[in-house]
């Protein structure tokens, strides 16, 4: 049995089961923070599996001292129903990589905005058929003028908004007037 701290509240059976899930040769003490970011980059968003939680800017920080690991995550929307699932997926990925007791901490500040989505994440959204947020959220103002949104399918800017809200809280519904395809737009907040 691997050594656990005295503070581990899990039962002996739970600990045994958890240790069985870890590959025998998993040596987390050799892993660097960059390795952990790479592991997290493999965790996909459950709603938009084309992008990872890192690319979406949901993972805020990784704290790793060679023994204790904690990961800061932030919700995209206050009521995003995927938040808990994302936290579970992250914990599962870290446990599978050999971390026995990763802590997932939710942080609210600074609040998530679409500016946190990486350039690579934006390109993957587009390729997936979702128009990425255009421009910077910080420049948007209340009751702002409508933006020009590019169709992710044909590249036309001849598009119109069908609904301010789309299939999830973070998206709006658009339609391309050239290729006639409807598409989701990742709202700029």
């Amino acid at each position: 049995m691997p050594q656990h701290g005295d503070t581990d509240p899990r039962s002996a059976v739970d600990k045994l089961i958890a240790s069985d899930r870890v590959p025998a040769d998993a040596r987390t003490d050799q892993l660097t923070e960059a390795d952990i970011w790479a592991i997290l980059d493999e965790v996909k968003d459950p709603e938009v599996p084309a992008v990872s939680v890192v690319e979406l800017g949901i993972v805020r920080a990784v704290h790793w001292d060679g023994k204790e690991l904690s990961v800061d995550v932030t919700p995209t929307y206050s009521g995003c129903p995927a938040t808990e699932l994302i936290e579970e997926l992250i914990e599962e990925a870290l446990r599978a990589a050999g971390f026995r007791n990763p802590r997932i901490k939710q942080v609210l500040t600074p609040a998530w905005t679409t500016d946190w989505i990486t350039d690579e994440g934006r390109e993957k959204l587009r390729a997936f058929g979702i128009a990425p947020p255009q421009g910077s959220a910080s420049k948007r103002s209340l009751l702002g003028e409508s933006e020009v949104i590019t169709c992710p399918h044909c590249g036309s800017t001849n598009t119109e908004r069908v609904s301010e809200f789309g299939s999830t809280a973070c998206k709006a519904l658009y339609r391309c007037k050239d290729c006639l395809e409807p598409f989701d737009y990742f709202k700029c907040i």
């Binding site: 929307y77 206050s78 009521g79 500040t109 600074p110 609040a111 609904s163 809200f165 999830t168």
Partner: protein, 254 residues
């Protein structure tokens, strides 16, 4: 009233108003006038319930009697609820649904905009997150009020009726009581006079653009939601919303 008691009370008001309006909006799930509208309403409701949870969690920590966010939402009776009366009013037709939303969103927007600078860091963090969402809500509901008000003869008549029906519940949004004043003095809540001025300014501007007539500022107003005195509607909402937790307390699998 100590500052901690006032803050707890204030958090419950924010949470309860979000929760009740979110529940009201969800009544339209499956029967909104159009698919896009349904998605929009459910998205707004989801934001509000998410925000309510954040406020409830903080309130639960301050109350510290073993109750969590779920217990505060599902095990308190009507007289313990602190939501604004406006939020419990029935959906009626779409003009009322959107009018209620607009009056609330305008109040919510200016309140959160002030809370972002609260001396209490936790309040500021929750508000910063919520403000981004509510900005979106306000834009949408104000557009609907304009579209219906400045639309056909029928839509104008209905939107004006909605304003007249709801107006008596709006005084509460901008009439401060001791809790509101204590929160403002503590550098947490908005300055009541500023909130009143901002709310009235925006509402008048939007109603004017919508060719609608507001009722006078000194019209008779219902107050009382903030002290737990509600209209008859709240009991029915809670009966439906709390049924499962009342019938099967602490059930974790449905």
């Amino acid at each position: 009233m100590t500052q901690k008691e006032a803050l707890t009370e204030y958090l419950l008001r924010l949470a309860d108003s979000d929760m009740i309006l979110g529940q009201r909006l969800c009544e339209l799930c499956g029967k909104a006038p159009a698919l896009e509208e349904e998605m929009a309403l459910m998205n707004v409701a989801l934001d509000l319930v998410g925000q309510a949870r954040n406020w409830y969690e903080y309130a639960a920590e301050l109350i510290d009697d073993g109750r969590d966010a779920d217990k505060l939402a599902f095990r308190r009776d009507a007289h313990d609820y602190r939501n604004l009366l406006l939020t419990e009013q029935p959906n009626e037709d779409y003009a009322v649904t959107m009018g209620r939303q607009f009056f609330y969103d305008a109040w919510h927007y200016f309140t959160l905009k002030s809370l972002v600078n609260a001396s209490d860091e936790r309040v500021a963090a929750i508000a910063a997150k919520a403000l981004k969402e509510v900005t979106y809500h306000l834009r949408r509901s104000s557009e609907w009020v304009k579209r219906l008000g400045d639309g056909t003869e029928e839509s104008h008549r209905r939107m004006q009726d909605a304003v007249d029906i709801l107006w008596r519940f709006t005084g509460e949004l901008i009439t401060p009581d001791e809790t509101d004043r204590l929160m403002a003095e503590a550098g947490i809540g908005p300055d009541p006079e500023q909130l009143k001025e901002d709310w009235r300014g925006l509402v008048k501007e939007v109603l004017q653009e919508a060719t609608l007539t507001p009722q006078p500022d000194d019209a008779w107003m219902y107050l009382g939601g903030k002290r737990g005195e509600h209209t008859e509607h709240l009991g029915f909402i809670l009966a439906e919303m709390q049924f499962l937790q009342r019938a099967y307390p602490d059930a974790t699998t449905w």
